[in-house]
């Protein structure tokens, strides 16, 4: 079985400051890793994913996440946040072998960017 823990329920940060949203997972099998984002009044959108290869993955809007196998972590970072980054962020995993698309999510982290 898999589980995902997001260590912070809320992260307040000022605009243009750096941010890190933490995610740790537990799994007895190899997994794909994802970050989803939910902007206010919208559905979940895939932000970025780690499938294989380079452990550092990037999104088109400046976020990056690094897969750390030894620490079973997939923390999300951005060097300078904007007001528009205010949203809830969800870390998720999906097992690789026999993948059915089923996702196991963490509890979510609300990023509040202040002017």
């Amino acid at each position: 079985a898999q589980s995902v823990t997001q260590l912070d329920s809320q992260v307040p940060v000022f605009e243009e400051a750096p941010v890190e949203l933490r995610c740790n997972y537990s799994s007895s099998v190899s997994v794909y890793l994802f970050w989803y984002v939910q902007y206010p009044n919208q559905g979940l959108q895939l932000l970025l994913k780690y499938l294989s290869g380079s452990t550092l993955v990037e999104s088109i809007n400046g976020f990056e996440a690094e897969f750390n196998k030894s620490q079973t972590s997939f923390h999300l970072r951005k060097p300078s946040v904007h007001i528009s980054d205010t949203a809830e962020y969800f870390c998720a995993v999906s097992k690789i072998s026999g993948n059915t698309g089923k996702l196991i999510f963490g509890q979510g982290t609300t990023l509040q960017v202040k002017p």
């Binding site: 009044n41 969800f90 999906s94 698309g101 089923k102 999510f105 963490g106």
Partner: protein, 116 residues
Amino acid sequence: EAGVTQFPSHSVIEKGQTVTLRCDPISGHDNLYWYRRVMGKEIKFLLHFVKESKQDESGMPNNRFLAERTGGTYSTLKVQPAELEDSGVYFCASSFVGPYPNTEAFFGQGTRLTVV
């Protein structure tokens, strides 16, 4: 191209009543998933359809929940009778069948269910 559509977007019902949520997946997506988020907690998997067949219903909380996907197109999730603890946001997602990235899921906006 239309995305995953869910309706209603909000529903407020009294305890003991019945509610039916609907999900229209992206055209061509044989995989359809239901998830639920109870306030403040994680988004939890409920079940997975492949076309009209239930592939995995391990997350369904109890027999008050009934999911159907007639004809392998849209799906409904009925809660009967609703209890207070059923309140939350119900998400639907869909994807193609096959190895990843075919199974990359696209989510709807969710239905917020409030049972009073």
